[in-house]
């Protein structure tokens, strides 16, 4: 019966859907065209071009003069003593951010969402650094941490840490990177708190109430009821934290320019320096670093997607 009904109605529907589908498809392509064009011109073409350039030695002037070197630029990464440090720094920053940012944001989101007084005020306070640009925050903290201007000295004095007065936080390789990470986390966490607050709004209240009636503690409720509902938002947070941190650039350039002596250089800043900074014009080498960064980034997103599908 059902089969017959379908067969009776389907020719009309098919005709109707063909026409409507045709129009819809055209509209969809029309609406997608600007983004597609933008993506092609500003992402796809430069990426393909960078991939091509990465096999050349080129000083950025006349590509006709560029020399084909095959995989030499990629192999040079293994020889480049500075690059190994830069590679380590990149993963160090990313690892620390991945370990700190998602749990910190989740905890603060739960606290804010728990019905405490002035929760809007705290949300605004957490979110405020996010609306400032990396450049502004970087510059601000360069001044705060500077022994010359002495803002950090005042704080150290108040805390009784007199031995840290006049300490050059960004000038020592032991503290420069951790100072940048601290500033980066301060600047970024508010955004992820906001994402988690949005996620918490979708947790069914009746399930939380039911857990409480059944005698579950707050921690048990969070662990067994709330967090499972935040799986999708956590997936988004992990991808954003990884990609944003892995591509960290502007804050480092403003605060230390990658120094002292590569101590805070990450792959993004090192790539920029190879191509454009201080008269350097290693376009091929810089392009090969960009391609490696792209591969690592895509691999992580791919791995996380696989993991998400399994769970």
């Amino acid at each position: 019966m059902i089969k017959n009904a379908i067969s009776l109605t389907s020719p009309i529907q098919r005709n109707g859907s063909t026409l409507a589908g045709f129009i819809n498809k055209r509209i969809a392509w029309f609406l997608l065209a600007p983004s597609f064009l933008f993506f092609t011109v500003f992402w796809f073409v430069p990426t393909v071009a960078s991939f091509g350039i990465s096999f050349y030695y080129w000083n950025g002037v006349d590509f006709a003069e560029a020399e084909w070197v095959g995989l030499e630029n990629y192999l040079y990464m293994l020889e480049d003593f500075n690059f190994s440090g830069v590679f380590f720094n990149t993963f160090y920053v990313t690892f620390i951010a991945m370990v700190i940012l998602p749990p910190l944001s989740l905890i603060l989101a739960i606290v804010v969402d728990s019905g405490i007084k002035a929760n809007s005020f705290f949300t605004a306070i957490f979110f405020l650094p996010t609306v400032l640009s990396m450049i502004v925050v970087g510059y601000l903290f360069t001044l705060i941490l500077s022994p010359t201007y002495g803002f950090s000295d005042a704080v150290m004095g108040l805390l009784g840490l007199d031995h840290l007065i006049q300490y050059d936080w960004l000038g020592h390789k032991s503290t420069a990177m951790n100072s940048i990470i601290a500033v980066y986390i301060w600047k970024s966490f508010g955004f992820y708190v906001l994402l988690y607050i949005a996620g918490l709004k979708n947790v069914p209240r009746e399930q939380v109430e039911a857990a409480k009636i059944d005698g579950a503690s707050t921690l048990q409720t969070i662990w067994h009821v709330v967090i499972p509902h935040l799986r999708e938002i956590t997936y988004v947070v992990l991808i954003l934290v990884f990609t944003n941190t892995f591509l960290l650039f502007d804050m480092i350039i403003v605060m230390t320019e990658g120094g002292p002596f590569y101590a805070t250089d990450v792959m993004g800043t090192y790539m920029y320096q190879q191509a454009f900074s201080g008269g350097k014009t290693e376009m091929g080498y810089a392009s090969s670093i960009a391609i490696v960064m792209l591969i690592i980034n895509l691999s992580f997103v791919g791995l996380l997607s696989k993991f998400r599908q399994r769970t």
């Binding site: 002037v61 003069e65 941490l145 120094g259 002596f261 590569y262 201080g278």
Partner: protein, 433 residues
């Protein structure tokens, strides 16, 4: 009739009727005082050359540098332009994008301060004329602070300099304002010490061999005198002669500390003269000496400079008119206008009658006109990739203890050999002795 009149008006406007030529000049003189000085220059040139008009197109520094590769490889480049001399210019000269101008250069070269040819002569041919420059190896000092401590400001030797530094340090004051963050400031310190440690031809050849295959060198970057230069620089830091945040602070912070009277000494080039007038607590408290002599190398009247060159692109459509403008840039008229507008110039003219209001600039122009040699910075003379990696960056690394002078020398030499072998110059057998 109407069409004829309109055509005539257009022809009159474009100057074709009177055989007038318009040449386009590109420069980085995009803001005052450079922009208005350039306008004065072009007016003077057009007065001397009634058949030629100059259309001046200027861009900001970084924008200009980014545009150069595209415009020089295009079919319609400007007729004449300014570039940084040395490596920046050679990367366009090497693929044949710049016109050789030996005829113009030979006629004016006797006025050029000796040593400057390294910025524009490539494989024996001249590709421009120098114009406008900055003197680099200068030690600035606060006259009042030295006077208070009874220190003679006429410092001539490195030992005299060190003893003045030690004197201030004993008073509990960091003697030298320094910010190494950007790399170039530390690079300049080592540059100037090395310039004093080596003989001039050694200083030029050890670096220029990476840009010009006709240059031969007898020294390498592993030379002990170069290691000594690195170690002398490191000692300034280790002995506490630099301000406490020297590694993390930038040039501007260090400069302002000096101009506010917090430290008695500061090392930078003549580009700081305008800042002394604009930002110092009292401009009359500041003076300079040329970098002190260190036994064995160049003398105190030998200066390190950066210089722009005026060049003509290969595809220029008005080469003869452009050459006239190029020759004008080398004239006393043009250089006097430029100096009176607040700049130093790379030619040795009698400056006695030049009207320069700024007393520090006046002394600088006079000093330069009497310099026995003017040699470019090493970052102008060497392949930029090697220089950045093994001169700029280590100028911070050696202070943090991350790298030693010997390791810098080895890496630097290896980088130079790699650059030269990549260019396949070894086949000629003419580069490394």
């Amino acid at each position: 009739m109407k069409k004829v009149l309109i055509s005539l008006l257009i022809l009159l406007h474009t100057g074709i009727v009177f055989g007038e030529t318009t040449i386009t000049m590109w420069s980085r003189w995009s803001s005052d005082p450079h922009l208005s000085n350039a306008q004065r220059l072009f007016e003077a040139f057009e007065k001397e050359n009634p058949g030629i008009k100059v259309k001046h197109v200027s861009y900001d520094g970084n924008q200009y540098l980014n545009l150069l590769p595209n415009v020089l490889t295009s079919r319609n480049p400007p007729d004449i332009l300014t570039m940084n001399g040395g490596g920046d210019a050679f990367k366009y000269i090497e693929p044949g994008l710049i016109e050789p101008v030996n005829d113009v250069y030979d006629a004016i070269k006797e006025n050029v301060i000796p040593g400057l040819e390294a910025t524009l002569v490539y494989e024996g041919k001249a590709y421009g004329v120098p114009f406008s420059n900055y003197v680099g190896n200068i030690i600035w000092f606060n006259k009042e602070m030295l006077k208070t401590e009874g220190i003679d400001p006429n410092i001539q030797t490195w030992d005299q300099f060190l003893s003045a530094l030690e004197h201030f340090k004993k008073q509990g004051k960091a003697p030298i304002s320094f910010g190494a963050k950007e790399g170039w400031t530390g690079n300049h310190w080592v540059n100037h010490i090395m310039h004093r440690n080596l003989k001039l031809e050694e200083y030029i050849s050890v670096s220029l061999r990476t840009l010009d295959k006709s240059v031969k060198t007898k020294v390498t970057w592993e030379d002990p005198r170069i290691s000594d230069a690195w170690n002398a620089y490191r000692e300034l830091y280790e002995k506490g002669y630099f301000t406490s945040a020297a590694i993390s602070e930038d040039f501007n912070t260090a400069r302002d500390a000096f101009l506010q009277g917090k430290t008695p000494f500061f090392q930078t080039g003549s580009w700081v003269i305008a800042d002394i007038y604009d930002r110092a607590y009292n401009k009359d408290h500041f003076d300079f000496i040329i970098f002190p002599k260190i036994n064995g190398g160049t003398e105190q009247n030998e200066v390190v400079i950066s210089s722009q060159v005026i060049s003509i692109p290969k595809n220029s459509s008005n080469k003869e008119a452009a050459k006239k403008l190029m020759a004008f840039f080398s004239s006393e008229t043009a250089n006097r206008i430029w100096a009176e507008g607040g700049n130093t110039v790379p030619y040795q003219f009698d400056t006695t009658h030049w009207k320069i209001d700024n007393h520090i600039l006046q002394k600088m122009v006079k000093t330069l006109s009497k310099a026995s040699t003017a040699t470019p910075f090493l970052d102008i003379l060497e392949d930029a990739n090697c220089n950045r990696e093994w001169f700029w960056e280590p100028s911070i690394g050696i202070l943090t203890g991350a790298i030693s002078a010997e390791r810098i020398g080895q890496g630097h030499e290896r980088c130079n050999v790699r650059v030269i072998s990549r260019k396949k110059w070894n086949k000629t057998g003419s580069v490394i002795q």
